[in-house]
C-alpha cells in the first residue's frame, strides 16, 4: 500500500483525531515519511473527498474524517432511532454491583469468570446507574462501585431491599425472558 492509502485507512480506523506525529509513528518503520510528505498526502486525500459527503478536517487533536454538516438531518434521524439494547455482560455486571455493593471491578471479574470491559463500566457510570463510592484498601486501590438513586428509580424500587433474595432469583422462570425480549421487538 502507498503512503496515501495507509494514511487514509488509518485516519478512518482511528477513534479520535490523529496528528502528524502519530501518523509518522504508525507509518514509520516502512515508509519513513517526513512531515511535509504526510501533509501532502493529507492534502491529496482532502481533495479527493471534495465531492463526497464526508470530509477530512483538521481539528484540535489532529486530522479526522467527519460527516459534512449537510447530512445532519439524516444522520440525526439515524442516531435517534430506537435505542440499542444493553448486552448480557452489562446486565450481569450491573446485577452483581446491585447485590454485592460496594464492590470492585476485580471482584466482578472474579465472579463472572471473564474480564469486564471498560466500556461497560463507562456506560453504567454515564447512565448514572452506578457511581464510585471510594476505594478499597488493597494493592492498586481499586474503585468501589455502588448503585445510585437513579438506578432504584429506573427499576421502580424504593430501596435495595425490594430486590428479591437470591433464593427467589434462582427460581425465576426462563420463559419470562422470552416474553420480555418479544415485547421489545
Amino acid at each position: 500500500m502507498e503512503v496515501n492509502d495507509i494514511v487514509e485507512a488509518v485516519l478512518f480506523a482511528a477513534k479520535k483525531p490523529l496528528n502528524l506525529q502519530q501518523l509518522q509513528e504508525i507509518l514509520g518503520e516502512d515508509a519513513f515519511p517526513n512531515k511535509r510528505e504526510l501533509r501532502d498526502a493529507i492534502n491529496q486525500i482532502q481533495k479527493s473527498y471534495q465531492a463526497r459527503p464526508i470530509e477530512l478536517v483538521e481539528v484540535a487533536g489532529g486530522y479526522r474524517f467527519q460527516v459534512r454538516s449537510q447530512a445532519a438531518p439524516w444522520v440525526s434521524r439515524l442516531l435517534s432511532e430506537k435505542p440499542q439494547k444493553y448486552s448480557r455482560a452489562l446486565l450481569e455486571t450491573l446485577s452483581i454491583i446491585a447485590y454485592k455493593q460496594p464492590t470492585t471491578r476485580g471482584e466482578i471479574e472474579e465472579i463472572r469468570g471473564v474480564s469486564v470491559s471498560s466500556n461497560i463500566i463507562h456506560t453504567l457510570l454515564e447512565r448514572e446507574w452506578i457511581r464510585s463510592v471510594g476505594h478499597k484498601e488493597v494493592p492498586g486501590r481499586p474503585t468501589l462501585y455502588a448503585t445510585t438513586k437513579q438506578f432504584l428509580d429506573h427499576f421502580n424500587l424504593k430501596n435495595l431491599e425490594q430486590l428479591p433474595p437470591l433464593s427467589e432469583v434462582r427460581l425465576l422462570d426462563e420463559l419470562q425472558t422470552i416474553e420480555t425480549k418479544q415485547t421489545e421487538k
Binding site: 444493553y86 446485577s95 455493593q101 431491599e161 433474595p165 437470591l166 425472558t177 420480555t180
Partner: protein, 269 residues
C-alpha cells in the same frame, strides 16, 4: 506392511514396566517427559490424539490398523499415568473402546464378509471423520478475515450533529435473570459462592461510603451514622454495615483514647 506386522507382534508383548515405560516404544513416539504434558495439551481430546497417530503414519482413516493404533494410543496413556499426569476421563474411555474393538477384530468370526456391515471399527471411523471435518472447519473459520484482526470498522466524526440518543430501557426482570445466570454459573464452577447478605446492610454500606466521600470533613463521628428515627433495627443495620466495611478495609474507625468518641474515616483519605 512388514513393519505393521512386526508392530502387531510386539503389541502383545508390550507392557509398561514401572520405571521404564518408554523402553519398547518406537523411536518416533519418544517425547521427553518434560514436553509430554505440553504435548498432550496440544490435543483437543482422544479423537484428536488418534487422528494425529493415524496421520503421522500417512494412513487413511478408512483402514486404520486398529491393533497398531491401539497399542500406540495406550502407550501414550500409560506414559501419562506413569508420569502422574492427570488425564481427562475421556482418554481412558477411548482406551477401553479401542481395546474392545481390537479384541473383537482378533476374535474368529463366522462370517467372512466382515469388511462391509459389521466391522467394529465403523463407529470409530465415523467419529474420527466427523471430528476431522469440524477440526478443519474450525481452522478455516479462524482463517476468515474478521473484524478487529484484518478488517476494521470506521469511526467518522459527527461534528455539529448533536442528537439526544434514547437510552435503552431495562426491565427489572431482565436484570434479575442476568443475575440468575451469574448465580448458576458460579455454582457450577464451584470455587466461588455468593452468599445471601441482607441487602439493607449492603445498601447501608454504600450510604456510609457515600457520606464519607461527599463530606467536607475527613472524619465523621461514629454516632452520626445512626438515626434515632430508624429505631433499633436501623441501628443494627448501620452497625453491621460499618463492621463489614471495616473488615473489608473500606473504612477505618479510630479513637483517640479509651472511651473517647469514635471517628470514621476513609483509609488514607
Amino acid at each position: 506392511m512388514a513393519e505393521s506386522n512386526e508392530q502387531l507382534d510386539s503389541a502383545d508383548r508390550f507392557a509398561v514396566v514401572e520405571g521404564e515405560p518408554v523402553r519398547e516404544l518406537p523411536e518416533d513416539l519418544y517425547i521427553p517427559p518434560d514436553a509430554l504434558e505440553i504435548f498432550l495439551e496440544t490435543f483437543e481430546g482422544p479423537l484428536d490424539l488418534l487422528l494425529y497417530l493415524i496421520k503421522r503414519q500417512n494412513l487413511n482413516i478408512l483402514d486404520i490398523p486398529v491393533a497398531d493404533i491401539t497399542r500406540q494410543y495406550i502407550s501414550y496413556i500409560d506414559m501419562m499415568s506413569s508420569l502422574k499426569i492427570e488425564l481427562a476421563a475421556e482418554y481412558l474411555v477411548m482406551a477401553a473402546m479401542l481395546t474392545e474393538i481390537k479384541s473383537r477384530i482378533l476374535m474368529p468370526r463366522a462370517s467372512t464378509n466382515e469388511e462391509e456391515s459389521d466391522d467394529p471399527r465403523n463407529d470409530l471411523i465415523r467419529r474420527l471423520q466427523e471430528y476431522e471435518c469440524f477440526k478443519k472447519a474450525a481452522i478455516e473459520i479462524d482463517e476468515l478475515p474478521r473484524l478487529e484482526r484484518e478488517l476494521f470498522e470506521l469511526s467518522v466524526g459527527l461534528n455539529q450533529i448533536e442528537v439526544e440518543q434514547p437510552k435503552p430501557v431495562v426491565e427489572l426482570n431482565e436484570l434479575l435473570l442476568a443475575f440468575k445466570s451469574v448465580l448458576i454459573r458460579v455454582e457450577r464452577l464451584g470455587h466461588h459462592q455468593i452468599k445471601q447478605e441482607p441487602l439493607s446492610v449492603r445498601e447501608r454500606m454504600t450510604a456510609v461510603l457515600a457520606l464519607l466521600r461527599d463530606s467536607e470533613a475527613d472524619f465523621i463521628a461514629f454516632v452520626d451514622f445512626f438515626r434515632p428515627e430508624e429505631g433499633k433495627l436501623g441501628a443494627v443495620v448501620s452497625l453491621l454495615a460499618m463492621l463489614e466495611l471495616c473488615k473489608e478495609g473500606m473504612i477505618e474507625i479510630t479513637q483517640a483514647e479509651p472511651l473517647a468518641e469514635l471517628w470514621v474515616t476513609s483509609p488514607t483519605a
